[in-house]
């Protein structure tokens, strides 16, 4: 085989398994994520940039394990937790997952609402129409078709990179702050750091990525390529986050008036006078598409995880009557999420988000703990169990993430 042919084979193999990693990582940048990154950039400027690189590494560490478990066992994470830790543990875990994912869905529909209002479209039109279309697409199609839609949605994130350039950042300051860590020892800065890690590594992602690896049916032989998919996903999402922080840091941090924005829509509005209409518009389009994207995936992920754990039929490929529980939960999360986002006022929305963040923060360490127990179980993972070095890194990294998300919980509860 010539070198070119070998590469072509590799590319074809990669194309076959690509998807779950990239999509999961990108959905990570949903309304909540974009809000956090925008606020971080506006408040702390370039100084917060360096946090993104270690966060990316932690993301790869955690998601790679899920990916591996999915490929090796052919089962979703919640099914594995049910088999290994029993019904009771998985039931309460699923309950917490529904609560936090519902909170995230509310955030996403609220993101859609805020995004369209920048273009003077009523939220009472956009949110119901958007929710219905998403619901319909997923109910009527197969995993392959849905995945294609998601790839298109991923492309919209380019808008953030463009808006990052349009904001005309000071590139030398950017380069310096990306590589040299600066820590400000005050609670707002620490809270922000933890917040970034918390939105980047959320519990639904582990369940979602593993489930989609399973649904895609990636053979063990091609695990290497599937791992590349995870790494690519993490890199792409980090680049996008990077440009969101960058745009907000460049345009909003200098001015004390715009430094204290609270949401992604605020950021888009604040960008308009400083960086121009096109920059603000792109930012808003990015927000809308990311929110819609998140609003589709979170209900699917919730429903798949719950059904797997409880032993109900699930899967996008099934018809409504073949998987009634699956579609009921899916519809419930979308309808309730959209309704709360439409009918609740802003201050109450923020407290709903905070609550869901707290549940998120408590859930994540538990999920990671279960994951590490399962991935070290030779009877489940065989030769693909973690090696000693990887295990050390995994426990350290997971411990760090867990500690940070618990800190987040404490800080949030203390207000």
């Amino acid at each position: 085989m010539g070198a070119w042919r070998r590469w072509r084979v590799r590319l074809a193999l990669f194309a076959m398994v690509v998807g779950p990693g990239i999509i999961t990582a990108n959905v990570d940048n949903d309304a909540g994520g974009i809000a956090t990154y925008s606020v971080a950039g506006a408040r702390f400027g370039y100084q917060i940039l360096w946090v993104l690189l270690p966060t990316c590494l932690l993301l790869v560490l955690v998601q790679e394990m899920c990916n591996r478990m999915g490929v090796v066992t052919g089962k979703g994470l919640s099914a594995l937790i049910r088999e290994r830790f029993g019904l009771r543990a998985s039931f309460y875990l699923m309950l917490a997952l529904i609560v936090t994912n519902l909170g995230n869905s509310v955030a996403n529909f609220a993101g859609v609402a805020a995004g369209v209002e920048i273009f003077h479209i009523s939220r009472f039109v956009a949110v119901p129409v958007g929710a219905f279309l998403l619901w319909h697409v997923v109910i009527k199609s197969t995993y392959r078709a849905v995945e294609r839609w998601f790839f298109v949605a991923c492309a919209f994130y380019v808008t953030y990179i463009v808006s990052g350039f349009l904001a005309r950042p000071d590139w030398t300051a950017v380069a310096r702050n990306s590589l040299v860590p600066t820590i400000q020892w005050n609670s707002t800065y620490l809270y922000m750091m933890v917040g970034i890690v918390g939105t980047t590594i959320a519990p639904w992602m582990q369940f979602y990525q593993q489930a989609s690896v399973v649904e895609k049916g990636i053979p063990l032989k091609h695990y290497k390529y599937s791992r590349l998919d995870t790494i690519f996903g993490a890199i792409i999402v980090t680049i996008v986050c990077y440009f969101i922080v960058l745009a907000c840091a460049a345009a909003l941090h200098q001015n004390p008036d715009t430094r204290h924005i609270e949401t992604a829509a605020d950021a888009a509005e604040a960008l308009r006078p400083v960086a121009g209409d096109s920059c603000a518009g792109l930012f808003a389009i990015g927000l809308i598409s990311a929110s819609l994207f998140g609003a589709t995936i979170l209900p699917i992920s919730t429903s798949t995880s719950v059904c797997e754990a409880m032993g109900w039929e699930s899967g996008v490929n099934k018809k409504f009557l073949e998987a009634p529980h699956f579609y009921t939960i899916y519809t419930f999360v979308i309808v309730v999420g959209a309704a709360i986002a439409l009918l609740t006022d802003r201050s109450r929305l923020i407290s709903i988000m905070l609550f869901s963040q707290v549940v998120n923060g408590i859930l994540l360490p538990v999920v990671i703990f279960y994951m590490l127990r399962i991935i070290n179980d030779k009877s489940i993972m065989g030769e693909y169990a973690n090696g000693r070095l990887l295990n050390l890194v995994a426990w350290l990294g997971a411990g760090l993430v867990a500690a940070m998300s618990l800190t987040m919980v404490v800080l949030t509860l203390l207000g």
């Binding site: 084979v9 074809a12 029993g86 019904l87």
Partner: protein
């Protein structure tokens, strides 16, 4: 009274686990019941051992013969010598919370609880619980949940049982038994396919290994392409080739298309020459064209043959050909000159020549005809199969109505 034992008592596994185990005549308990092992010697297999766990002494296995008294509150055992038997499956480890195959519904189920019948000193599994009530019981909220559901929806949740006779355990030991009893081969291939799709990787491969190549091939044809790909690339190439040989060439080609090139080649190279050639022929055509859907094995005849000779020649091929009721008449250069149906051959006098019987106006398609073109022709002429020819009229194969239906169904799902 020692002999006033009830005719039989039903226990749930969830209430048995954690029961105190103590040795007859000794005060301190041995530990708590952790698992129960079974040997599959009958449709309702008897318990052959129990696993006891204590904080101080760790885990130990005792044979069932050591058990003197058995209830959900306490298990009384006596000390016995010798190694305990190795069971085919464990109730907690391999059944509870795991996937099993429900042979009656031909579905994969997740087990919420197992119900046992204890009678005359024997413990056998009676049912597995797969319903909502089982979940509630495990959570310990049956009563309040029942009251609530009744109050709010006027709904009383009921037990959803699968009788043990219809349960197939998927642990390695359980699957070995399934292979011996050939329990799964009675299922319809489409049902087997659904089951394969719903299982985890290990269970799936184990189940496939219990099937003979013919059953495996029938099931695999019905399986979702993604699952086909995983199954075939995980399977050892020789075994995969055995299975694909049992499939019609165009189905085998569909499976191979899902695999990466070198993988597919490795499998084709291990197939028998004839089957491999057929598959290669089909793979040479574009997907979603007549060439990729056609059956390559047809009954062929020459114009100068007699009806009797053709019928005689048909007999040995009848089992294998893809298109059976139509005979394709070819000239010496293999060009298609006519078709004659089996019915016409039977009806004719034995010494009638084929060219007197055959229809010479034949509807044919080129190898690149689309499923839509084919559907139109099938609709217009009411045919059962349409021959595929190359540009000089040489017969390549024939597309059957059902191949087109399959393809169109597949396209609609996309």
């Amino acid at each position: 009274m020692a002999n006033a034992r009830p005719a039989g008592t039903y226990y749930y596994l969830s209430e048995l686990l954690g029961a105190q185990v103590r040795v007859e005549g000794e005060g301190a308990p041995l530990g708590r019941l952790r698992d129960i092992g079974f040997q599959t010697t009958a449709p309702y297999p008897p318990a052959t051992c129990i696993e006891v766990r204590s904080r101080s002494r760790g885990t130990s296995t005792l044979p069932w013969s050591a058990v003197k008294e058995f209830s959900a509150r306490a298990v009384v055992v006596q000390r016995v010598e010798g190694p305990p038997p190795v069971p085919d499956f464990w109730a907690r480890r391999d059944v509870l919370d795991d996937q099993v195959v429900d042979l009656s519904g031909a579905r994969v189920r997740r087990v919420n609880d197992v119900q046992f019948l204890y009678t005359e000193g024997r413990l056998v599994p009676a049912h597995v619980e797969i319903g909502f009530l089982g979940i509630l019981r495990r959570l310990g909220v049956v009563r309040p949940a029942r009251a609530f559901l009744h109050w709010l929806f006027d709904y009383t949740p009921k037990e959803t049982f699968v009788t043990w006779r219809h349960v197939q355990v998927l642990s390695p030991g359980g699957v070995r038994v399934a292979a011996r009893l050939k329990r799964l081969t009675d299922l319809h291939p489409a049902e087997l396919a659904d089951i394969l799709e719903d299982l985890g990787a290990k269970e799936r491969q184990a189940l496939l290994a219990t099937l003979d190549p013919e059953t495996a091939a029938d099931a695999l044809e019905e399986v979702d392409p993604d699952v086909q790909r995983t199954l075939m690339s995980q399977e050892e190439p020789g075994k995969a080739a055995d299975i694909l040989e049992e499939m019609p060439a165009q189905e085998a080609a569909d499976v191979l298309r899902e695999l990466a090139d070198p993988e597919a080649q490795r499998i084709i190279n291990r197939m028998e020459t004839e089957a491999a050639d057929d598959v290669r022929e089909i793979l040479a055509h574009e997907e979603e064209t007549a060439g990729s859907m056609m059956a390559t094995s047809c009954i062929e005849a020459r114009p100068e043959h007699t009806a009797a000779a053709v019928l005689e020649a048909t007999r040995p091929q009848a089992e294998d050909v893809g298109v059976f009721n139509i005979i394709y008449v070819l000239d010496e250069t293999r060009r298609l000159v006519g078709v004659v149906s089996l019915r016409e051959l039977f009806a004719a006098a034995p010494d009638t020549r084929v060219d007197e019987l055959m229809t010479t106006h034949v509807i044919t398609v080129p190898a690149d005809a689309s499923p839509q073109d084919l559907a139109r022709l099938f609709g217009k002429y009411g045919l059962r199969a349409i021959p595929v020819v190359d540009e000089r009229g040489e017969l390549l194969g024939a597309v059957r109505l059902k191949d087109v239906l399959n393809e169109l169904a597949h396209l609609m799902r996309e």
